[in-house]
Amino acid sequence: MTPLGKVYGPTPAQFAAEAVRLAVADAGLSLADVDGLLTSSGVSGGISIDLQRDLGLTDLRLLSHMQAYGSTAGAMVQFASMAVQSGMASVVACVFADSPLQPERNAGAAYGSRRAPAGWWGLLGASGVVGANPMYALAARRHMERYGTTSEQLGHIAVAQRAWAALNPAAQLREPITLADHQASRWIVEPFHLLDCCLVSNGGIAVVVTTADRAASLAQPPVHVLGWAQAHPGRYLRRDPDFGLVSGAASAGPAALAMAGIDLTDVDVAELYDCYTFTVLLTLEDYGFCPKGEGGPFVASGVLGPTGKLRLNTGGGQLSGYYMWGMTPLSEAVLQARGQAGARQAPAHDIVLVSGNGGVLDHHATLVLASAAAAQ
């Protein structure tokens, strides 16, 4: 990964190229070994398959730009895994980068004002429904209404992730916060306080996918991809009885675990996509960490944070760590599975469950990763 956060200057394409160079070197490979490249861009765009030329990669056997919003990182690893399994390619670099932040411009502006005031999108914007915040807030409110979930319960997620971030040198926000801080933070869109919402970050992250045989002789402990699945419910801006109550995680999670041949009790570490605190709560329910509707009491029960028994979003996630879409949970999962997470390393880290969520709870990707020891 490149430096992340308020890092000004590089374009998304420059961040992406640097992330690939760093990941390839980290693996003990050279760019000449790369024969597959999957690219993904964020809100500021600027990344395409032209990255091949930027990196001087010639004679690739796999090249594509992918977009499934926050589920893209997981999806890239899935396609890369299938590519190396089939022999289509042998070393596939998967990269995401973004640089929405500009000096002297607030983070909200970086993600707002991109809707043209015409057409159906313009109609939504003119109505006041602008960007992701209102849509996720409407989802969270529906969950609250149906199950009695509270803002304080969501706050437990924010507080726990900040405690994890304090242990992560790469995290943008490392000062501890309390539940009272969460409650006192300004409203963004009720029921979300500021501390329910993710950061905005500049930077790039890449991972390298290759065969298990080849990975065994490379520079880093291999991380095995044991299972994966996607789910795309497809009901965005349509009547949706599941809205705010059940997401694609409910089908992708069990499918990925089944592919890996394990169940939830085998999971040592969970890195769950956290554009908002609520996304974590819903994914916990959908994956089965607690029964449907009991996510609120579950996250408030003391299971979270470095002293809790559930190792969840151990790098601080996107709320307190860095906002690199699906690469945030994926990068922390890789570090945990390798046993390289420093002060925040989970003592047991054989099986790491990773989620990616995109759109408004409308695209989901799950990965089941395993340490080298667990895969044997």
Partner: protein
């Protein structure tokens, strides 16, 4: 509570905007009688593409709500906009603000509240925007 924003029409929304100007909210209806959200190109129930515009009755039920707070500016109070999902009596959902004068007391909102569609404009140069009000 802030009002609606400026809106221009495009080819896809022209008929919807014409009807909105006459205070009618158009849905898409298929030959089998299913109602779909106005932006669809095929029926959300049966997939038929032979759709016609059909005015909704204007009644709806509250599905969910949220309150958007404007970014604080020194010396000015934050503006609040109540945003809601309404389930139209015909079935489709719609996302817009909950208007009212005086502004509705959102602490009293609950799923199932009855709503009614009205229309507001940012100004005379812009298209009418559907909003909900408490029925």
């Amino acid at each position: 509570v802030s009002g609606v924003g400026p809106l221009a029409r495009d080819a896809a929304t022209a008929e919807f905007c014409d009807a909105a100007a006459a205070e009618k909210f158009l849905l898409r209806r298929c030959p089998a009688g299913h109602a779909s959200e106005p932006a669809v190109s095929q029926c959300t129930t049966c997939g038929q593409t032979d759709l016609h515009w059909d005015p909704a009755g204007g009644g709806a039920t509250l599905v969910s709500w949220a309150v958007s707070w404007s970014r604080p500016v020194a010396g000015e109070p934050s503006r609040q906009t109540i945003l809601v999902i309404g389930e139209l009596d015909e079935g489709p959902w719609w996302w817009t603000q909950l208007a009212g004068d005086p502004p509705p007391a959102y602490v009293a909102l609950a799923a199932g509240c009855r709503l009614r569609i009205e229309f507001r404009r940012a100004d005379a140069d812009h298209e009418a925007v559907p909003v909900f009000v408490l029925a």
